[in-house]
Assembly symmetry: C2
Homo-oligomer: 317 residues x 2
């Protein structure tokens, strides 16, 4: 059993590759919901949506979000009605949000709705939100504190980030199954996601830190290659939050609980310094731009974890 802590696009690609390498039923994805927001009265879970559409095989690969080939007639009509329409919502995409919102109004929890939606899409892996509560990540900038999607989508991440406010996540409870999935799996993998706004909120959920300390093995795949985030503002955030924008800084962020850090070949020169901090390093190709590269990355990570288990087993006998 493998548990993946996941943000959006990078995580979804990684899990997609992983599902081809291990049986999908053996994967649990714990998804960040700090980015969740309400638009037009609908509950949107951007990271979970990206994971679900990816695992359902209908993700728009060009954009990285939403349903492939989707249209935007409703959004255009909302704009004509004078509604705020900067958050892109496709017509087919809306079906998921309508279903989720209706079920939440009926009293279902976010985990329950997520399971129902995954079942409708015949998704065999388990996808769990980090919490069933609303736990919005707030972004403090020089121009004030913003809800995540305003910073991320509306203002296109233009403002410098001074602080990530995860107090809502810290005050919430893990969704059912979250702590068990971390504690009881053969390994926990931190997907190549933004450490502050994707993985950070999950780590901030009460009990998750303790569960990680009880986990068999923990690996993290770098979302930074050659000093640049593969997607999104992780590199700029590292800088503005006082870190070096590098995979090395990433490894340092996680070193308290990390067994294995997965570094891109381009950054191989960082291996010795990371290993000096006590974290084993796997060097491989981490850029996932094809089905093959996704699966190769997943296979390398799984094999490195297996070697670790074998060694662990040997050491104990």
């Amino acid at each position: 059993m493998l548990t993946v802590l996941a943000g959006g696009v990078g995580a979804a690609k990684f899990v997609d590759g992983l599902s081809a390498v291990v049986p999908p039923e053996e994967i649990t994805v714990i998804a960040n919901t700090g980015d969740d927001a309400s638009f037009h009265g609908l509950h949107i879970s951007p990271d979970m949506d990206t994971i679900i559409y990816t695992l359902a095989g209908i993700i728009d690969r060009e954009r990285g979000w939403g349903v492939a080939g989707d249209t935007f007639e409703c959004l255009n009509a909302l704009r004509m009605l004078g509604e705020d329409a900067w958050f892109q919502l496709g017509d087919r995409d809306l079906a998921m949000h309508l279903r989720r919102t209706r079920r939440l109004h009926e009293g279902a929890t976010l985990s329950e709705v997520t399971r129902e939606i995954c079942d409708s899409f015949h998704i065999r892996s388990r996808v769990i939100p980090m919490t069933d509560a609303l736990a919005p990540t707030l972004i403090r900038t020089a121009e004030g504190t913003l809800p995540f999607q305003e910073y991320f989508v509306k203002l296109q991440q233009r403002l410098e980030v001074l602080e990530i406010d995860l107090s809502a996540a810290r005050a919430s409870r893990p969704a059912p199954g979250v702590l068990e999935a971390i504690r009881d799996s053969d390994a926990v993998i931190l997907a190549p996601s933004n450490p502050f706004i994707s993985i950070g909120p999950i780590l901030a959920i009460p009990g998750v830190g303790e569960a990680l300390r009880a986990a068999s093995a923990i690996a993290a795949v770098t979302p930074i290659v050659g000093g640049k985030a593969l997607k999104g503002p992780a590199d700029r955030m590292l800088k503005s939050l006082g870190f070096e924008p590098s995979a090395g800084a990433m490894a340092k962020l996680y070193r308290d609980f990390l067994d294995l850090f997965v570094l891109d070949r381009k950054d191989e020169y960082l291996k010795p310094s990371i290993e000096r901090s006590g974290v084993r390093v796997l060097v491989t190709d981490t850029i996932m731009n094809s089905a093959a590269s996704k699966q190769n990355l997943a296979r390398s990570v799984v094999e490195a974890l297996q070697r670790r288990w074998e060694r662990g087993h040997h050491a104990r006998t």
Copy 2:
């Protein structure tokens, strides 16, 4: 000032013609909301939607409902998610329902949301729901009592109607402005709409009957021509509820408060019997299949009402 009691398609066409004959600002439309229903968590007001889309000039004239040229991507996606999708909702159409539902959740009344939506569409006439409460019309059939849309859309009006249950309308209060619009206008016009399921619910709202008795003049345009409903099940309902399926039966239904009944030329032979019941009759073309025919009908009705006012004035002086 003219006030129109309105169902959906026929009423919308009539008001459309009327707006070309009198200044739109002088028209108040009181719309049936007995057909309102919730689909996918959205509040749908089919009759108001039809009136609004018609007055906004974007109605789909072929179908008679929804937005011209609309697509159904979201509905198809809902169907794939296993949702009930027999109620047709176009992608652009959804924008209106999202807006309405969000505002209702925020605590706005249906009248307030309706005014906002009309403003967004630059509609100059006033459209008021008959009530701000939920007042669902129920249809009793041999196979049980059904919510209106199940009878009307899902089962395509196949079941014989034994009774129209308007108890929810009877237990509700008129929306702000409804009674004033009826009492204070120069004339009230019952649009060519189904007497049982479109006009009936409005008449069932407490206070409406009394306001009608205080009205200056009341006209009704027949929705039955040559013994057939121009649209929908009015003829079959007349029969199954024990009436003759004719314009004459229509006039009889309303005769207690009616000053003028507008009869189609095809039914001119009914004029003497209707007039014997004390209702004046205007014979004209009532079939509205073009802008010209809509305006001609509206003009004939307005002129007949004006002649009545002049005579009334003459009688009093």
